[in-house]
């Protein structure tokens, strides 16, 4: 599968000239793992849909037709049936990849940046600063994630921006916790002491010695979080708290098609299958990365 090898490529930066480096080893273990390649292939297809969906889709995803409402799968002109407004399901599912992936991945990326920063600061500073930051994080950790996401976006009101904000707030605490615990471990190592003794500033120590140790575990963890985030983001849209109609997004499509489960049950279930597949792919990718990178 040459396509999936391409997807794995970013994990392999330029290999060092001498011995095989850590990342080359990771890359090698990764491409030897059939599950990792399968998950990458699925994600690559979804990425292509997200980028080029509007040009690849056979029909206009917004064009409704009063006569062609709720057509079954495999009917004339509607290969995967049509929705409650007579819009082509195949096209909407393809174009929907963009918004659905965007809604699922963005909060984790934002939380990755914010959470890592918070965790690094707390872990490196230690003492009172650590207590103040981590006790605040604990408060948000005390909420079940689904509840916090719905509470925040419920209070803020529907909309893409509010849904992204709520989900980011939900994912910062767990990432900050991982970053903090790794940083605290690394901080007292001899090589950090040595760097400090030789006059390196806090920023240089974090950048050179701490970040390298912290990023691996968090990256693996964040990949797994995307699976959760996909389900939650679509869940918010499913409740009517995320994306607004008529935009194609899988959770929202599932919501509007709920009334059709007695008419065209399998058409109505299709958007959820897309969320399911995406979530499985990210979970498997996270597991494979964990094995390949040998982190806990």
């Amino acid at each position: 599968m040459p396509m999936s090898a391409a997807a794995a490529a970013p994990a392999v930066p330029v290999p060092p000239p001498r011995s095989r480096g850590y990342w080359a080893g990771v890359g090698l273990r990764f491409v030897k793992d059939p599950v990792a390649l399968g998950a990458s292939a699925v994600l690559l297809v979804l990425l292509v849909l997200a980028l080029f969906g509007p040009w690849l889709a056979p029909a206009d995803p917004f064009k409704s037709s009063m006569l062609g409402r709720l057509q079954p799968i495999g009917s004339e002109g509607f290969p995967l049936g049509s929705d409650e407004l007579g819009r082509d399901m195949l096209s909407r599912l393809m174009v929907g990849a963009r918004l659905s992936l965007f809604m699922g991945i963005t909060p984790v990326v934002l939380a990755f940046v914010i959470g890592t920063t918070i965790g690094l600061v707390a872990g490196y500073a230690g003492g009172l600063v650590n207590s103040a930051i981590m006790r605040t994080v604990d408060v948000f950790y005390a909420f079940p994630s689904v509840l916090l996401a719905i509470a925040l976006s419920g209070a803020l009101g529907a909309g893409i921006g509010n849904a992204l904000l709520s989900l980011t707030i939900v994912f910062v605490p767990p990432i900050a916790r991982v970053a903090e615990s790794v940083t605290t471990q690394v901080r007292t190592r001899d090589y950090v002491e040595a760097a400090r003794a030789s006059g390196a500033g806090a920023f240089a120590i974090v950048r050179v010695h701490v970040l390298g140790n912290v990023l691996g575990p968090i990256f693996v963890y964040a990949t797994g979080l995307i699976a959760v985030s996909m389900i939650l983001a679509s869940g918010l849209s499913f409740l009517g708290l995320g994306v607004k109609p008529p935009e194609p997004e899988w959770g929202l499509m599932l919501n509007t098609l709920r009334t059709a489960i007695y008419v065209q049950p399998w058409v109505a279930a299709l958007p959820g299958a897309m969320i399911f597949v995406t979530s499985i792919a990210f979970n498997l990718l996270s597991d494979s990365l964990r094995n390949a990178m040998d982190v806990k």
């Binding site: 408060v139 005390a142 509470a151 679509s234 409740l239």
Partner: protein, 317 residues
Amino acid sequence: MLAYLLRRLLYTLPIMGGVALVCFALVHIAPGDPLVSILPPDASQELQDRLRTLYGFDRSLPEQFFSWVWRALQGDLGTSIASSRPVATEVMTAVVNTLRLAFVATLIGFAFGCLFGFVAGYFRGSVVDRLASLLSVLGVSVPHYWLGMVLVIVFAAQLNWLPATGAGPGGSGEWAWDWAHVQHMLLPAITMSVIPMGIVARTVRALVAEILAQEFVVGLRAKGLTQWGVFRHVVKNAAPTALAVMGLQLGYLLGGSILIETVFAWPGTGFLLNSAIFQRDLPLLQGTILVLALFFVLLNVVVDIVQTMLDPRIARG
């Protein structure tokens, strides 16, 4: 032990305070005036002011927070803007319904999770192990609201075996443990059980594999203990952690039930939250979240304490 218990409870107090603060803040991060939803658009300034004073929105924020907490401690969570009934009453009715559902779901999930986990841990690398691993990946990956829809499609719409929505025949409010009611519970409970099932299976598999690799198991076998005897030792060693995971999962289900309850129109906290959100009933939203989050915090404490009591080897710093 007692010292640990006290320390654990003491540590929980600031967390609970923080949780209350977040719940309080919910009303204030909400855009617009919370009174707008109950006032007619042409309400006079005088009426607006009177209601503002009635709901306490005219005082300073710290003042509002402390009086809110003080009243909450006495069991008064305010009045629902939409229904004009006390929030506490509405939340308690709903919590009981949610707990009933979440409890049954946790039991189902725990039973099957343990079964898969034990088999997979005992026969590592076998087909059963791979199947169990696959099932647990599917369990944590499935959008549960979609799974609920699919189950409704299959068992309610297509086969017509089970009712699709509601918590009892004819929309009756009273619950009873008879078939007429239980059949309403089956689909949502099974849908909900999938999440803890996957996680319990994963945990138990890792636990069993780890325990079987320890030397005392070799010792037990060398002593001539039967497979069954060894199994009992494995169960005893795996139980504390597995039970702790189950307890925490029950908490997650309480919070996560909102989507499933919406699909099945189950009259629990999720359903209540949903209506609170769409009627912009902020006191109800705030009260429901507060009760659920505090329940989750307390459950964590209980799980910790029970785990320590079951397994005194767990050293607590």
